[in-house]
């Protein structure tokens, strides 16, 4: 029992020699399993407690807003602190749109980069390129924001937006004045910001696909393309979902960089060029000067909505991957 306790305490440690065991026993006298579990439960309990306390506090502080507006808080399109009318719909849409732009770009680019780093890059370049990607993840978001505002926004106004507008004839999503800042630029910044997460995790997941399976597929005469779709991606599916989930989490909640470039309009945007706002950008903008209790409560309610949106979006991503996984395994079976 004592041996068990020692081993469980440090499972990665190689089983020590007899002398080592003696020494450890002297230093760590018998810890009963019960106590061991109690310690772990306490540590995990603190984590759960913090989570619960966070949610409970948010909900309590947000209650006046929810109680007054009810479901209308989610469907209202006016955010007017002067007349105390608060509706979160424009910000929910803004959050989902910017995240969607970022993910639509980040999934293929991130996955492609990860595959390149694992399968196609010259071995000498692999380490420096991987490090470069990881360094991007360490850049503070305010730096991305400044770069986007001062450097990318003028490009967006003079190059990117006119080009997109000419494709659709200034209609639909690419209509209206070309200001540089707005939904599109916010989405592009988020794309750049989540890319390192997407690449770094995808790379590790793809690299951990068993070499035997890949080599086996090649031995059967599969092309690189077939190996990618039939072997690598199905095998890495769950890990790639993790990469997408983490990236999306960052995109949904990113505040500073988005606030700097989204244009901060509280109306629903009818074009990707138009200014908009996200749940977190409104909180960041208005929290410091919100002196009316009701205004403050509504801002905290936005935090609750953001939490809920994150949970729903992540659950949806999981369901999607689950159903796609079934289809692909079915098609593999058919082959």
């Amino acid at each position: 029992m004592a041996d068990n306790a020692v081993l469980e305490k440090d499972p990665l440690q190689q089983p020590p020699g007899v002398e080592g065991t003696m020494e450890r026993r002297i230093r760590f006298p018998m810890v009963p399993d019960g106590l061991y579990r109690a310690i772990l439960a306490t540590v995990a309990g603190v984590f759960c407690l913090v989570m619960v306390a966070l949610v409970v506090t948010l909900v309590i502080k947000a209650r006046p807003a929810f109680a007054h507006f009810g479901f209308g808080f989610l469907t209202g399109t006016t955010w007017d602190p002067v007349h105390a009318k608060y509706g979160a719909l424009p910000f929910i849409i803004g959050t989902l749109e910017t995240t969607a732009i970022a993910m639509v770009l980040a999934i293929p680019v991130g996955l492609g980069t990860a595959l390149f780093l694992v399968h196609a890059v010259h071995p000498r370049l692999r380490a420096p390129l991987s490090t470069a990607v990881e360094l991007l993840a360490a850049v503070p978001s305010v730096v991305y924001g400044l770069w986007a505002l001062l450097v990318v926004a003028p490009w967006a106004r003079t190059i990117i937006e006119p080009a997109l507008a000419s494709i659709t004839g200034s209609k639909g999503p690419f209509s209206g004045p070309q200001l540089g800042i707005g939904l599109l630029l916010a989405g592009l910044v988020l794309f750049v910001m989540v890319l390192p997460t997407m690449v770094a995790i995808s790379r590790d997941v793809i690299a951990s696909v068993p070499g035997e399976e890949v080599e086996g597929a090649y031995a059967l005469g599969a092309t690189r393309w077939q190996v990618l779709w039939r072997v690598v991606l199905p095998s890495a599916r769950v890990g790639l979902l993790g990469a997408v989930t983490l990236s999306m989490g960052r995109a949904l909640g990113e505040t500073i960089a988005v606030t700097m470039v989204i244009g901060n309009s509280t109306a629903i945007a009818h074009s990707l060029f138009a200014p908009a706002a996200t749940l977190s950008s409104v909180i960041a903008n208005q929290f410091t000067e919100a002196t009316e209790p009701f205004h403050l409560s509504s801002l905290i309610a936005l935090g609750v909505v953001l939490l809920a949106v994150s949970v729903v979006v992540n659950a949806a991503a999981r369901l999607l991957v689950h159903s796609v996984g079934r289809q692909s395994s079915a098609s593999v079976a058919l082959v």
């Binding site: 505002l149 509280t266 410091t288």
Partner: protein, 360 residues
């Protein structure tokens, strides 16, 4: 309202040392306590407080004042909870706010004065575009949509105005700057009163928004054909192009320290309920301006701390402090408002019920 960078922008001004606060009004010598005071609130006051409290500490060694510029809302909350010695807010505390204050009767002292420039980015057009209050309101309401609109043309017959759409720029963050600007628009335009109204954050009919004065200024300078409001200090120090605004007397006035002070001096009896000084009469008045307020409790529970607090606020709201304010491009408080600040500070009492700031 952040002009944090501005404090560094004018190193030459740092040489102007204020005179040591020789003040006959102070009853007790609080130096012995070597007191440390804490304050929290408005970001508008932050550059002034940082510099002024540094100078005060040098001149009156032993007193340190820590100011956290967490925003007026946060400042009021901290002050209500009595976790700070004083608060600072761009809009005075409302009666509802005061009823939540745990330290008793609240006094509010005008401590800084600022104006707002209407800045624009019109290629080829210099400072001095003429705008009337109603046209300005129409631009921000979105009813005047292009620069060559007949209403703007009529005011500026000699200026070559383009046909491009106007992009309005406003503050994204809740701010006293926005409060003063929307207060002005509400005063001059019934349509604005019926629409967005007055507040630190309002529901804007259109346009884009940046964070802080620097955000708005950045958007204006980056976006051709845009117009927005920025703190006067910011416009002066960054050499922006800005409009002349028609005042209540019918004259077109450029924003400057003198024209804002002229506007403020028109209303000597400003109170914490009737505190708006926009659109005052007088041919020299620039109409878009407002005060920032220091919040203190009338009854100071600690004689030494109370004395030191009142002393520093008196110093700040009079010649030495206001000279520093002017060097940072705040508008110095007019004489009648300095007198108001002192008469308010004279109401502060120590635990024994006597005033801590004595008259001559």
């Amino acid at each position: 309202m952040s002009t944090a960078l501005l404090a560094f922008a004018s190193p030459s001004l740092a040489a102007k040392k204020p005179k040591a606060p020789v003040d006959p009004y102070v009853k007790a010598d609080a130096h012995a306590s070597g007191g440390a005071l804490t304050g929290a609130g408005s970001t508008f006051d932050q550059p002034l407080f940082t510099k002024a409290f540094f100078e005060y500490n040098k001149a009156d060694s032993g007193v340190t004042i820590n100011y956290a510029s967490i925003g007026s809302g946060g400042g009021i909350a901290q002050f209500q909870a009595t976790t700070v010695n004083f608060g600072a807010s761009d809009v005075p505390m409302s009666p509802a706010d005061i009823s939540l204050a745990k330290g008793g009767q609240v006094l509010q002292v005008p401590i800084a004065l600022g104006g707002e420039a209407i800045s624009y980015n019109l290629p080829g057009v210099k400072t001095g575009l003429k705008l009337t209050p109603s046209v300005l309101a129409d631009i921000f309401l979105g009813t005047v949509k292009t620069w060559n609109n007949s209403k703007i043309k009529k005011l500026n017959p000699k200026v070559k105005l383009p046909s491009n759409p106007i992009t309005t720029v406003h503050r994204a963050d809740g701010s006293g700057t926005t409060y003063i600007f929307t207060n002005y628009l509400s005063t001059v335009s019934p349509a604005w009163t019926a629409g967005p109204g007055t507040g630190k954050s309002v529901s804007w009919p259109g346009g884009v928004a940046g964070q802080g004065n620097e955000g708005v200024a950045g958007l204006i300078s980056q976006t051709p054909y845009s117009i927005g409001y920025v703190e006067l200090a910011y416009a002066l120090q960054n050499k922006f192009t800005y409009a002349t605004i028609q005042n209540a007397a019918g004259d077109y006035v450029l924003p400057s320290k003198a024209s804002v002070a002229a506007d403020a001096a028109q209303k000597p009896n400003v109170t914490t309920v009737d505190f708006s000084i926009v659109d005052q009469p007088g041919a020299a008045s620039y109409p878009i301006s407002g005060y920032s307020w220091a919040l203190i409790y009338q009854l100071q529970k600690n004689q030494a701390t109370g004395t030191e607090l009142v002393k520093v606020l008196d110093w700040l709201s009079h010649a030495p402090g206001q000279a520093i304010a002017s060097s940072l491009d705040y508008v110095p408080l007019p004489a009648n408002i300095q007198a108001l600040a002192r008469s308010t500070l004279l109401q502060v009492t120590g635990p024994d019920g006597t005033t801590v700031l004595l008259t001559k």
